[in-house]
């Protein structure tokens, strides 16, 4: 069963993602900010990270860059938006800085399914942390 780390400061977003991913037979670990996400990344065998960009203290793009350094093959989906006018511009930056996919909030179930499927074509294959 693949393990997904969801990093987002909004409880509701984490809850919705957890419900969706668990229905796909995935194990979900949650982190409220980038620092906690990095700790969990080091402590667990993670297959996919879904990371928000706009978070207090430890932002999402910096977190993605750190994850990419400690786990170069990790699959990462960046998410952002929530009505903010320039969030899409930041998603592009996140892709340039290491995210495999980017989804603007609000995204549909199909969009999330497609992004996760693209990241985990073989769910049993989990990249090892370096």
């Amino acid at each position: 069963m693949p393990t997904v780390l969801v990093i987002d400061d909004e409880d509701m977003v984490r809850l919705v993602l957890r419900q969706f991913l668990e229905r796909q037979d995935m194990e979900v670990i949650e982190a409220q900010d980038g620092d906690e996400g990095l700790r969990l990344c080091r402590a667990h065998r993670i297959d996919l990270v879904i990371c928000d960009l706009i978070m207090p203290r430890a932002d999402g793009i910096g977190t993605i860059m750190h994850i990419r350094r400690i786990a170069p093959k990790m699959k990462i989906i960046a998410i952002s938006g929530g009505g903010r006018s320039h969030a899409m511009e930041l998603l592009k930056v996140a892709e340039e800085m290491g995210a495999d996919h980017a989804l603007g909030k609000p995204f549909t179930r199909d969009q999330l399914t497609a992004a996760v499927a693209a990241c985990l074509p073989n769910p049993t294959l989990a990249p090892r942390l370096r």
Binding site: D35, L53, I54, P56, D59, L90, V93, M97
Partner: protein, 460 residues
Amino acid sequence: MLSLSLGEKLRNWFAEEQPVATARPAKATPTGPDMEHLQSLERRLQSLLAQPQLLSAGRVHMLNFDRLRESLGTAWEDLRDRVHAAADRIINRLIAEQDVQFRTGDGEYIIVFATLNRQAATLVCAKIAEELHRLFLGDPNLGDIKVATAVGLLDGKILYEHASVAELLANIDQTADPGGAEAAAVPAATPLPAEPAAARPPEPRKLQLSQGELAQISTMFRPLWDVGRQVISTYMCTPVRRFPDGSAVEGVAALAAITDPQQLAKINTDTLIDTVEILDELFRNKFRLMVSVPVCFETLAARRTRQEYITVCQSVPDYLRQFLSFEFLRFPAGVPNGRMTELVNEMRPFCRWSFLRVEFRQQSFTSLAGTGLTGLTTLVPSDRAAEARTMEDLNSFVASAERANLRTCVVGVASTSLAIAARAAGTTLIAGDRIGRAEEIPQHMLRFRWQDLFLRDAPR
């Protein structure tokens, strides 16, 4: 014994009508040094009012700011303290030491002139009213502003004659000696005997910091990241105040302790001159950059300092004006749209952009729409533990500014997370330690992308 407060006694003495129901409640009876001061003031007043010729000489005047209050509308509540502080400052500057002034109500003052004749006294009052209205409203209609001169007693109440400031100033112009209005202000009546020193209230002791310490205000330049164009093209000129222990404060806080408008005007003028000289030198060395120059409300609000400042602006060569922008500091929240428009228009010929510094918590800018301002600058809180709240506030701040068609410049950004949140909210300009530290001299315009920000070492 003072059974009524001095304010009540004076109000009863001077009232044209019974105090209105909205009058502010009387303050608690003062004690100690305050009481001594009030008793001394009352003695001085009684001494002045005991003179039979005082009323007939037209030395008692009443100023009220009803017109100003009407013009400011709902902003009056926010500005009341500043109006009173400014009125106290202007009145005390223009009256003589032996004259007496006191506030009898909300925006209402009585001035008793010890020596001036009626014409000179009304001139002083007209000048006070004109300066105060100009400070808050720009160029007001002087015909609407009234000065009341006490002319006699009836049933224990003082009778007043009212005249508009415009009439008074016009009359003075017509009747003054060739020496001008100043000459008209020569006292006509015999001066009152000087009050014995022992009867004067002791001057309250004030903190006297050395001028050298106050003079430690210098200017630094902070890079401003135009995040939309991914370039650092503007350097924000910021006042920095250094303390003897080596610490320093920057920006508006560096000027917070300065209340003297003349001193502020001098700092603003020196800053403009220094900045333009630096800009010119850089320009001649093929550097291309914009600089943002701070200028305080006090400097622009008073006509004399504004004219002095504009004179310097006029000496800025045309080829440099397109690289200048102004940042208006210390403007009161709620400054009327017309006043703002007028000041922006006065500065517009000398700059490319004009920004207004506002409080971060201020969230309504509808009154600034259409004033010609390019945008707003604001300082975000530096408390990282409260970043989540700051991010939420950033969203509403920028949205509110955009509704008024204003760009936003966020200053004090010390973390990548705040820079991201500011951009996501729609901010176009960002400054702060995370973008670049303040430097003595501005640098060349330079390309600065998100990658540059992320790849630069930063504490997480």
